[in-house]
Symmetry: C2
Subunit: 488 residues, 2 copies
């Protein structure tokens, strides 16, 4: 073949033997431009929702020490993953050839162990609470099928630590409320992502439950403590049994018939409660979820959510609330829950945490099913829009503790973009202080553009933190006023 | 630990044995928020430069069939990479345990084989030429050191096929000019990235050469053909020898002393030519690079470039021009060249191609060395700016073949953002047609916002393709007029 830089090049070497034809490994994807743009459409939507809700981006290595995954799950887990080793390291090569050892590294199958390791390594320096997100490739060694690939993208959103607790030991009620608020922030971020992609509460539902609800109810009902764990096992596996078999197994372990009926009800009919149908505060089964219900209502996402006792989640590390995002005809598009013991397990201080993951494969199927994937030209335009700003647009605060719910409500409204206002990046303090000077200092340290000081139940002061004069306005006008200041 | 959803939870299980402490595998990175933001700063700069220059994003799997890398380099290459296997596949496990086989997959060490595979698979449907970029993680099994990690990010920009050739067999001169234009487009995109990050021609240089220059010069000088390859081997290894040893080796293979002196000159002094010092068209050694010099001047990047005979590049697949981006005190920050035989080797039709790669590790070191990393607040602001638009801002065309250099010059000016104009996403046709109707159709198919029709050497018509009236203006005013239409 002639060369650009020489009109008379030497003859090329004789042709190589046979042409080879190669494909992407089974269960992985080649992304041509339209596919790569679709990937960016999804990862930017994930990123924008995370940033508006005050989560900060992190990431870890693509492969991790194999040991990291044995902490939770033992050696057997290695057979579920892709092993990785350096072909240049005699020690690595020896390890993979030795049936009693195995690969030194694995491709990361999920993010939570990396997050726990990273948090544990810097727990002393990190702000309390810490809000992190990531979006990147993950890998599972399964046989590929609809909705499941061997390499896929996953968005992870995690709230580590607890919001709004002051000095000293909190009461149980304070702890429960604090955890519920962190849980609700994660769910609200997930709902905001769904809303930003065009889903509605009609076609996608956030279904949540807590194993602790079963525990509390069993305690109230006088179920002997030694029956709690066996009852859990029946609950976990109940969809795999007929009602008759389930009733027989309940009898075998000695569950009173009244309790057995409830377990079976949770199985055959599903205990589910649409939150828009009213506050189910009278139902004993739901009582432990009351703080979460309140927090979801505060953040304006209750209409997307329902209580569903069929949600248990497979992973062993969940310790409280668990949730899944479900649409008809597809696998769960997202799932997560509270994992209060994991950070400690990875060498960090005892730290309650909650988070969820969402994969790109099911999400893309769902967007396609619902006709929510933009046409090519509209997609190109969408990908050219300004991303959510990393500097907070607004930092909302108050000197009056009784106005705290208004702070959280306004932040939720600003993030969502009520009426014709833009969706903004809004934050509030998680500290217990109500000292306005300290709170303004926190706003400045986070490089917020505006502080919003809620003065009374109906008035607020908007204070530009870069330059400009502060002014008062009705609380209800704050979203529109900020929106026009930031997007003139 | 108490649970949010239950004030009286059952006692947790007894504490696990010893706490474990984990770190990222050697040579990989944990990205905390500031690190992740810096990563985004770099990947967005890569992406924006690519898009402004009309390259489209693609990507492939993180791991590939090991066979893919043996095509170019034989079995030995596996020892340089990270092997990957499914722990769930008995066949995979057996392969890694068998010293005569090895891993079925490897973590991708570079992108070019994936690109060649992807192009070969769809060559018939893809536009001619095809301009692709990608940015993602790559892996090498080396010992980590300054500027080299085991997992790193790399930007790849490739121009596949040839621009502007009509029907029928092109002459050698036409081929040479066409390849030079593709080469120059890649170099111009790389320069634009460097410029957008704050580098100047004073602190970073694009150094290029062509092995074919040596070949042509040797032919001109009457060096017998059988001495060309041995002379190359001396050129490749000349930095490892003293001048005396080199002169002796030249004598051993029978090189005339005049030629030997030139080889030594290329070694000990470096044949280097700053393009701003004038057009070195009289130097016989540089003659085969004349079309590339012309093309670099056309695109306004000649002041960043110099000819340097010490640039040879290690990879075997380069067939013509090779270049490196060099700054004092660091490894090459980018490198690439023309690889005209590779697509065919991977099962595609014979397709000339040129491209380059740039890693994030050396680039970040260099930005830090030169004080070009933005402070935290400025970085957050930068990451919140609008990305380069995927729809072309402008598609420039002409009915008059003699005005073609003005088309390329205007496109280069628009991409760069001359004077106070914005940097725009600009394209022109690579087809040989001068039929304005056909060219406008091409502009519309690419969803361009404006067509710019160069009418004479000094006038142009700006035609909005979405809506609005077309108008004429002086050619010199086109960048400012488009800039104010697109960024009012």
């Amino acid at each position: 073949m002639p060369d650009a830089n020489n009109p008379n090049p030497p003859k090329p070497a004789p042709a190589k033997p046979a042409k080879r034809s190669f494909q992407a490994p089974k269960g992985t994807r080649d992304l041509y431009p339209d596919d790569a743009n679709l990937r960016r459409f999804i990862t930017e939507a994930w990123r924008n929702a995370s940033i508006r809700h005050g989560f900060e981006e992190i990431d870890g290595p693509t492969f991790e020490d194999a040991e990291l995954y044995k902490v939770k799950s033992g050696d057997g887990i290695l057979a579920e993953m892709f092993g990785v080793f350096s072909g240049k390291s005699p020690e690595d090569v020896e390890a993979v050839r030795d049936p009693s050892r195995g690969p030194p590294y694995v491709l990361r199958p999920e993010f939570t162990p990396t997050l726990a390791r990273m948090y544990a390594a810097r727990a002393a320096q990190l702000s309390k609470p810490t809000k992190w997100f990531t979006a990147g490739p993950f890998f599972r060694a399964e046989r590929p099928q609809r909705g499941r690939l061997r390499e896929f993208l996953q968005w992870n959103v995690d709230f580590i630590g607890l919001p709004g607790l002051g000095e000293g030991k909190p009461t149980d009620d304070q702890l429960a409320e604090s955890k519920a608020r962190a849980d609700a922030e994660c769910i609200a971020c997930c709902v905001d992502l769904l809303r930003s992609l065009g889903f509605t509460p009609k076609n996608v539902r956030v279904k949540f439950y807590s194993r602790m609800s079963w525990v509390a109810w069993m305690q109230d009902e006088g179920v002997p403590p030694e029956l709690v764990q066996p009852t859990f096992m029946l609950l976990d596996s109940r969809t795999k049994m007929s009602e008759d078999v389930l009733r027989q197994r309940c009898a075998e372990i000695g569950l009173p018939p009244r309790i057995a009926s409830q377990v079976i009800l949770g199985s055959s009919m599903g205990v589910s409660w649409d939150l828009t149908k009213g506050h189910p505060s009278l139902l004993g089964l739901f009582r432990p979820m009351q703080p979460l219900l309140d927090a979801l209502i505060d953040l304006g996402v209750a209409e997307w959510c329902e209580i569903d006792s069929s949600i248990v989640r497979g992973l062993a590390y969940y310790t409280g609330m668990v949730f899944e995002v479900i649409a008809d005809g597809e696998r769960a598009v997202a799932g997560g829950g509270r994992y209060d013991n994991l950070i400690e397990l990875f060498g960090g201080p005892p730290t309650p945490a909650v988070g969820f993951g969402m994969g790109d494969v099911v999400l893309t199927n769902l967007l396609r099913d619902k006709g929510l994937l933009p046409e090519r030209k509209a997609l190109l335009d969408k990908l050219s829009q300004t991303p959510a700003p990393l500097r907070p647009d607004a930092f909302v605060l108050t000197a009056d503790e009784s106005l705290d719910p208004l702070v959280r409500g306004l932040v939720a409204d600003l993030r969502r973009g009520v009426e014709s206002s833009h969706s903004l990046h809004a934050r509030h303090s998680y500290k217990s202080t109500r000292n306005v000077g300290k709170l303004l200092k926190e706003a400045a340290a986070q490089h917020a553009r505006f502080a919003v000081i809620i003065e009374t139940a109906t008035t607020a002061t908007i204070k530009p933190l870069d330059a400009g004069e502060q002014f008062q306005c009705p609380l209800s006008e704050v979203p529109a006023r900020l929106s026009s200041l930031l997007h003139p």
